[in-house]
């Protein structure tokens, strides 16, 4: 038996969270949370290539919060299996030998449950190395689940134990601290996003959002591409400071985006009639949305130059105005998780491990909570930007 936080099906709580979550965040970690701390059976690692992992640190991701707050779309309900233990950003220790990785190895985990993990023939995505595009995430010998942390059979990082397949695991170098290692999964996502952005040397980039996704995307863009000016939209003082440290050329507040981008790119700024949102003729070559809100997506679509590229890195909301996509012939690209064969010929996790070793990431994990203080942890994560925190994590061993 083990202690874990469990996400369970509760239509009433889901609807309640959806209805009031945005306005009363406290309710999400109170009575309306479809989450509970339980003692449950440990998941089993009884197939070849699977091993048990004891998490050390387990991050709270924006998608985890979205799930708790009911802002995740029902679209995803077909690719999860309830109840499940959330948590896909982990650094942990192997409790079993796992092929070439001996017991006791510190590992990080690519959470996508691909064809290899499910024991089925590789789909086209997996065969080509684009494992994050796997078409078989609902079949095979593991319950449906797009990732570990959304799957009933594997457990997740918000529990005392989970199981993972060798294809998901990467050994953590000795010199890398747990606090840095737990950031490797979101860093891998940022590596993937930066490479998906296909930035040509000198191109201007806007990153909308300076939470973990936006900051790591900025870091990856600066490290892995020859982007010219990178403008980051940041709301809070600590975010502004970190954005600069991670490579932003300039940082603008959310209400200064149009003015800032217009200035830096020499674009024309137009204001339509009747209160419709303003937009630019000209603008950045590439924009990365790292928020996922309607406002943020609207903004990035309106400040990207004709023929430019918009990368949706946050889980997108609905209701954005797509007029600029048509009028400006924008190329809109999504980025989800990361691939085992990126366009640079390497797994994103390998690149991310290197980044985690050399980037200025000290202090990025700003708070650690034991599992039993999950309400405070989620509250903190929900207000992380305002509180000057980038990443909140569960200290699972302390639980």
């Amino acid at each position: 038996m083990m202690l874990a936080l469990e996400m369970y099906r509760s239509p009433a709580k889901f609807l309640a969270a959806k209805a009031v979550g945005g306005r009363i965040p406290g309710i999400l970690t109170g009575p309306a949370a479809p989450l509970r701390l339980v003692t449950i059976n440990e998941p089993k690692a009884d197939r070849d290539g699977w091993a048990r992992i004891r998490p050390i640190l387990s991050g709270i991701c924006g998608s985890d919060l979205g799930m708790v707050t009911g802002s995740t779309k029902l679209y995803f309900s077909a690719v999860v299996s309830m109840p499940f233990v959330p948590g896909h950003e982990i650094v942990g220790e192997l409790l079993d030998d796992c092929e070439d990785l001996p017991k006791g190895t510190r590992v990080v985990m690519d959470s996508v449950l691909t064809c290899a993990a499910r024991g089925v023939e590789p789909c086209a995505g997996c065969a080509s190395g684009n494992t994050n595009r796997c078409d078989r995430i609902t079949v095979g010998h593991v319950a449906p689940g797009l990732q570990t942390g959304f799957c009933q059979d594997t457990g997740g990082g918000w529990g005392n134990l989970l199981v993972a397949h060798r294809s998901q695991l990467y050994a953590v170098p000795d010199g890398l601290t747990d606090e840095r290692a737990v950031l490797v999964e979101p860093l891998a996502g940022a590596v993937h996003a930066a490479l998906r952005a296909k930035i040509q040397p000198g191109q201007s980039v806007l990153v909308s959002g300076a939470g973990a996704v936006g900051l790591f995307a900025t870091l990856a863009l600066r490290e892995l591409t020859q982007a010219g000016r990178i403008t980051v939209v940041a709301k809070h003082a600590k975010q502004r400071e970190l954005a600069r440290a991670f490579g932003a050329s300039d940082v603008v507040a959310p209400d200064e985006v149009f003015r800032g981008v217009r200035r830096s790119t020499g674009a024309f700024r137009l204001k339509p009639d009747f209160g419709a949102g303003e937009f630019l003729l000209g603008g950045v070559d590439v924009a990365v949305d790292a928020v996922g809100s309607k406002d943020s997506i609207d903004t990035v679509l309106r400040v990207t130059k004709a023929g430019g590229r918009v990368v949706l890195s946050g889980m997108p909301a609905s209701g954005a105005d797509l007029s600029p996509v048509w009028f400006r012939e924008l190329e809109v690209t999504g980025t989800y998780a990361s691939a085992q064969l990126e366009v640079n010929g390497r797994p994103a996790f390998e690149t991310a491990l290197e980044l985690a070793g050399r980037a200025p990431l000290d202090g990025i994990v700003g708070a650690r909570y034991p599992l039993y203080r999950w309400r405070e942890a989620l509250d903190h994560a929900h207000s992380a930007g305002r509180l000057g925190t980038v990443k909140v994590a569960f200290d699972v061993r302390a639980s």
Partner: protein
């Protein structure tokens, strides 16, 4: 009979003194011993303005009379100063209208039919049709504007600029093609202060950025001591050098006018007087104005000030060759504005009023407020600044965060982006000026809307560089703390607080001079 400027020392019988404070005024009790410099009263105006104009055109200085310069088939261009002067704008008819009508009449008599009129606005905003009409009058406007013969100068219209050459200092002289290719360029000037007129008229008013950047830069501005003394102003020296090149190519007939200090009339007449001479009616007017303005909504208050028109009297009109004409002009300006001030003081105090050259029919944003106080008023001296080196300047203005997106779009960005990085004129010039000057959006707005050129806020900031270099402390009384901090200054709630704040540099018993303007004065500091 007018009275000359006056210097008063505040003692226990001195009443509180009026201080301009943006769109309002206040009465301030100054420390005893404060030296108050009052502007001279308005000189008596020329009695027959039309006759004076005719006389100037027919008996010019070092030039043939205007009729002899006019002939059928020639190309005649008349350029005139834009709305940045006089301040406040003049009651109709504008003196420029009267002169232009007289010139056009002589041109018509000579059979000249190729005439164009250009507002010499350089990188200032375009004038609206109504603003052009206010200056040239209804008759001239109707005759020329519909045919496109009366228009604003466009410093970004590359096809209509002519490069006349370079000065011996390598300064480009590039002006309006129409003016450059005219057989005669008549320039109609209004001299409100000693800075205007002379070679500053054509060489700056009709010049492009390529030309202007040679003297509108931090280095030149910091070494202009002062703008009101063209022989000690590096900016004027440059303009004069350009003028030499210009006049080698273009025949210029310069007409300069000077105005008296009759600025405030009607219910604001008390602003013209010295406080201890206020009648009961003046005191009542002050109270009514102060309370009324305080109670009025911002929009109404703004309208009241925007609609203010002054009843200037003409003190002189001279025409002919640029240099000797300008000498006559300066005589008149000095006669009106000069006030002898003995020695510098530790602290200079100035009230910044509601209007400056670049916010006519608009709002005075923080950068313009700084320019008005530290660019214009600080530089209203001849000889030495009123305040000693490393002394303190105390200014009054609310310095609200208020910008006109129509007129000053690049100012907002300058305030938010450039000043956030540095307030040092040389640094921001090196890092940002070119970007702003060449920004297509600002150029678009300058050419098609009513926006000042993208580089204009830089010029305003360079304008204050002499003050920044000279003064040890600059404190604003009653100003928005955030806006003045962004500009690198400090804000105090009261004059006492301001004096306390500057005491570390000027001591606790500093000598203080309060420059009581407007009306305008030019401190002749000896």
């Amino acid at each position: 009979m007018s009275r000359p400027g006056f210097v008063l020392e505040v003692d226990d019988r001195t009443p509180p003194l009026l201080v301009h404070n943006g769109e309002g005024f206040l009465l301030e009790r100054f420390p005893q011993g404060t030296r108050v410099v009052y502007p001279p009263e308005a000189l008596p105006p020329v009695r027959d303005v039309d006759e004076a104009i005719q006389n100037a055109l027919l008996h010019p200085i070092e030039s043939e009379p205007l009729p002899e310069l006019l002939r059928a088939g020639m190309r005649l261009t008349i350029a005139f100063d834009d709305i940045s002067i006089p301040l406040p704008p003049m009651k109709k008819p504008d003196i420029r209208q009267r002169i232009i009508e007289a010139v056009l009449e002589l041109a018509a008599q000579a059979g000249v039919d190729d005439v164009e009129l250009i507002s010499a606005n350089a990188l200032h905003r375009r004038l609206t049709p109504n603003e052009l009409r206010d200056i040239v009058g209804e008759r001239v406007f109707r005759s020329f504007f519909p045919d496109g013969k009366l228009y604003n100068f466009d410093a970004e219209d590359a096809a209509n600029l002519t490069h006349l050459g370079q000065t011996r200092h390598g300064e480009d002289v590039e002006i309006s093609k129409r003016a450059a290719e005219s057989d005669l360029l008549v320039y109609v000037n209004v001299n409100l202060v000693a800075m205007d007129g002379g070679h500053k008229s054509t060489s700056i008013g009709l010049a492009s950025y390529k030309s202007l950047k040679h003297h509108h830069n931090s280095h030149t501005m910091i070494h202009s001591r002062s703008f009101m003394d063209h022989k000690r102003s590096k900016m004027h020296e440059s303009a004069w050098r350009m003028g030499e090149i210009l006049t080698q190519h273009v025949k210029v007939f310069q007409i300069e006018t000077t105005l008296n200090n009759d600025i405030f009339g009607g219910p604001l007449e008390f602003l013209q007087k010295r406080e201890w001479e206020w009648s009961v009616k003046d005191q009542a007017s002050f109270l009514a104005a102060k309370r009324g303005l305080a109670a009025a909504p911002a929009k109404l208050r703004h309208k009241i000030f925007t609609d203010t028109r002054s009843n200037y009297g003409l003190t002189g009109v001279h025409a002919g060759k640029i240099e000797p004409v300008h000498d006559k002009t300066l005589e008149n300006v000095h006669r009106q504005h000069l006030v002898e001030v003995q020695g510098q003081s530790d602290v200079a105090i100035m009230g910044v009023p509601f209007i400056g050259p670049y916010n006519v029919n608009s709002v005075m944003n923080p950068i313009l407020a700084a320019c008005m106080g530290l660019g214009y008023y600080f530089n209203s001296y001849r000889g030495n600044p009123v305040v000693r080196k490393d002394g303190a300047v105390i200014l009054y203005h609310p310095v609200d965060y208020e910008f006109s997106q129509l007129h000053h779009p690049s100012y907002v960005d300058f305030f938010e982006e450039v000043l956030a990085e540095s307030t040092d004129p040389a640094t921001i010039e090196a890092k940002f000026e070119k970007q702003y000057a060449e920004d297509p959006w600002y150029i678009h707005l300058y050419r098609t809307s009513y926006a000042y050129h993208g580089v204009h806020p830089f010029y305003m900031w360079y304008w204050i560089s002499h003050a920044l270099d000279h003064c040890g402390d600059i404190v604003w009384v009653g100003a928005n703390r955030k806006t003045v901090e962004r500009m690198g200054f400090r804000s105090a709630s009261t004059l006492s607080d301001a004096l306390e704040m500057v005491s570390h540099s000027v001591g606790r018993s500093p000598s203080i001079t309060y420059l009581h303007n407007p009306p305008h004065l030019l401190a002749d500091v000896r």
